[in-house]
């Protein structure tokens, strides 16, 4: 039994450990370790295609997580005021948005957007006063929108859980002490739920930053970091790809650790 468990863990983590190990390989082959070196990190970070993809990924992750944090929090606050039945329906819809597979989100968003573009672009061309009308197409916006669906549901669920433990009485107490609803939100509700909002933002950020499946469908000509990695391994796994993977791995672990800390610290006090 012990041996079996060990085998499972080795099977799960050994490949990841190897990726990390070979990212420090001095040699250029992925199969033999010839000495310690940071050269692949340097190569990766000076590769213009890669830095562009990284920048794209950061912009997309930041925007979609930020939008999700704002609107997800608003949704969670709004859900509080609904009657129990309507609320159950929306709770279900939010939970469903989280379990929908990436492939489905990707295809659905792609099909929907293409339809929208087919309708919108002729209108834009017709209305545009100049010669070169803007053309709506796949790119940043479509990836952000597709990621936002999942992220918004994620933030809403996390903030909702925090709101549930907040208790109605401190909101009433604030109101009783002459605070207007806006002041109550700003000085009582927001400080209380802020760790949950921040944690939701961070989780949404890592989801968007690491996502390949959804982005692959709706990216159009834009390249995100996971798409770049996917494209480059078709030319063989180089230590450069290992270095990228290691950096993504470490930053994801750090961000998720911070998010977990934000969520548990509050529970204790």
């Amino acid at each position: 039994m012990r041996a079996l468990v060990t085998a499972v863990y080795v099977f799960l983590y050994a490949p990841i450990a190897l990726v990390v190990l070979f990212s420090f390989n001095a040699g250029r082959h992925a199969s033999e370790f010839t000495g310690f070196s940071l050269q692949w990190y340097g190569k990766a970070l000076s590769n213009p295609f890669l830095t562009e993809a990284l920048l794209n990924s950061l912009i997309i992750a930041f925007t979609s997580a930020g939008t999700a944090a704002v609107f997800g929090t608003m949704a969670a606050l709004g859900l509080e005021r609904l009657g129990p039945r309507t609320r159950a329906v929306f709770d279900g819809l939010f939970a469903a948005a989280i379990v929908v597979p990436g492939v489905v989100i990707g295809i659905a968003t792609l099909v929907a957007l293409v339809e929208v573009f087919r309708f919108v672009n002729p209108v834009l061309t017709f209305l545009w006063p100049g010669d070169t009308p803007p053309k709506a197409g796949l790119g940043f916006f479509s990836i952000i929108a597709a990621h936002g669906l999942f992220s918004l549901a994620l933030v809403t669920m996390i903030v909702k859980a925090r709101l549930a433990s907040l208790g109605r009485d401190i909101v009433e107490a604030s109101s009783d002490l002459y605070a207007t609803p806006f002041t109550t939100f700003r000085s009582i509700v927001l400080p209380q739920i802020f760790p949950a909002v921040a944690a939701g933002f961070l989780l949404a950020f890592t989801f968007s930053f690491d996502d390949f499946i959804v982005a692959f469908f709706v990216a159009g000509s834009k390249t995100t970091l996971p798409i770049y990695v996917f494209a480059s391994i078709r030319r063989g796994v180089t230590p450069e790809v290992n270095a990228i993977a290691t950096m993504v791995l470490v930053s994801s672990i750090l961000i998720i650790a911070v998010a977990r800390l934000l969520l548990t610290e509050r529970r204790a006090s």
Binding site: I170, A173, S175, D176, Y178, A179, T180, I188, S269
Partner: protein, 360 residues
């Protein structure tokens, strides 16, 4: 005009319904300025709903609530000159003690200057004997201390009325008694009207000037604690406030009643003749060893309570009666043992006559 209004709070035909359920059934109530009023009743009697309607957290379905003569219909909680001490204190966990107490003052317009706020916060903390606790976090405080912060946070605003929602329910008995005395002296010193909601009759009787006994969404009786105890308006009040023995009887003439076992006893004078219920407080009954008299029975149980002892006495044909005796008045050997036969006597004025239970 508001400053001269005699009542700090008035309810005019107030009804509160939640869907098909009526929580408050047409209440008229006047709380005089500077009074300490307790709303007393079993859970679900509508007392907390009444308090929340004063605070503005609930709106009456019908009728209106007035604070210092002004109708409060449609006025939100943050525009009402009252403050509430919540049952579970509802302190702001992310603010320290000072910031909690200063919260109300900081919302006031025109703005109060920072120095003045700090001075009044310090004063309020001193008033509840928490000077030097200003920098503490809320979760570092004990239940009793949190209770006092909640009190300071409300009183620092010098409200017209302080609302207290079962404020002592979460404290242990000893602390509760200490807080009762503290609340009472605070109210006397500040002269602010207090409205207290409680299901604890002892708390209501010991602290307030006026007790308003509620049942099933109605006010049953509003009077001084003494009057509530000695002259309960009906059987519900007699039973809910303090302990009482309730006996089925038949009144043959004013002041004379026949109990279920056939014995004739002298009771308080009444207009009622025929089937009735007689209520007697346990401490109004005297026990004597001589097993002869109008009413005789056997002691079945004795609970020693220190200053007093409680006896359960079985009177054949009448039922089990509770009798409280002050045993220090007699010698030690005078504790009556279970199994002894006793005679029961009482002052006729202490045996109150109410309508028979079936018709009540």
């Amino acid at each position: 005009m508001t400053a001269t209004h005699p009542n700090d709070i008035e309810f005019r035909r107030v009804v509160k319904r939640y869907g098909a359920v009526t929580a408050v059934t047409g209440i008229d109530l006047a709380v005089p300025r500077g009074a300490f009023v307790a709303l007393l009743g079993p859970s679900g009697c509508g007392k907390t709903t009444c308090l929340r309607m004063i605070g503005g957290f609930e709106q009456p379905s019908e009728g209106e609530v007035l604070i210092r003569g002004e109708a409060m219909t449609g006025v939100p909680p943050y525009r009402r000159p009252v403050n509430m001490v919540f049952q579970h204190y509802a302190l702001f966990p992310h603010l320290d003690v000072s910031a909690n107490v200063a919260y109300g003052l900081k919302q006031m317009r025109p703005r109060i200057e920072t120095g003045e706020i700090a001075r009044r916060v310090a004063e309020a903390l001193e008033m509840v004997r928490l000077d030097g606790f200003g920098g503490r976090r809320i979760h570092e405080l004990s239940g009793g201390q949190q209770q006092r912060v909640a009190l300071a946070r409300a009183l620092v605003n010098r409200p017209a009325v302080l609302l207290l929602d079962e404020p002592l329910a979460a404290l242990d008995k000893k602390l509760r008694t200490a807080m009762q005395i503290e609340l009472q002296s605070l109210q006397r010193n500040l002269g602010i009207t207090f409205v207290l909601v409680t299901h604890d009759q002892e708390e209501a009787l010991s602290m307030s000037d006026l007790v308003c006994v509620m049942n099933a969404g109605r006010i049953v009786q509003m009077a001084t604690p003494r009057e509530i105890y000695d002259r309960p308006a009906d059987l519900f009040v007699a039973d809910f406030v303090g302990k009482t023995n309730i006996l089925d009887a038949s009144v043959v003439a004013s002041g004379r009643a026949r109990l279920a076992d056939g014995s004739m006893v002298a009771v308080a004078p009444s207009d009622r003749v025929g089937a009735a219920t007689v209520a007697i407080r346990p401490e109004a009954i005297r026990l004597a060893r001589k097993a002869a008299g109008d009413l005789t029975g056997t002691v079945t149980n004795r609970i020693f309570l220190g200053a007093t002892a409680e006896y359960a006495v079985r009177v054949p044909g009448v039922g089990d009666l509770l009798v409280t005796a002050d045993h220090h008045a007699t010698s030690k050997s005078d504790l009556i043992e279970p199994g002894e036969a006793v005679a029961l006597t009482f002052d006729p004025g202490a045996a109150l006559v109410f309508p028979a239970r079936s018709s009540a």
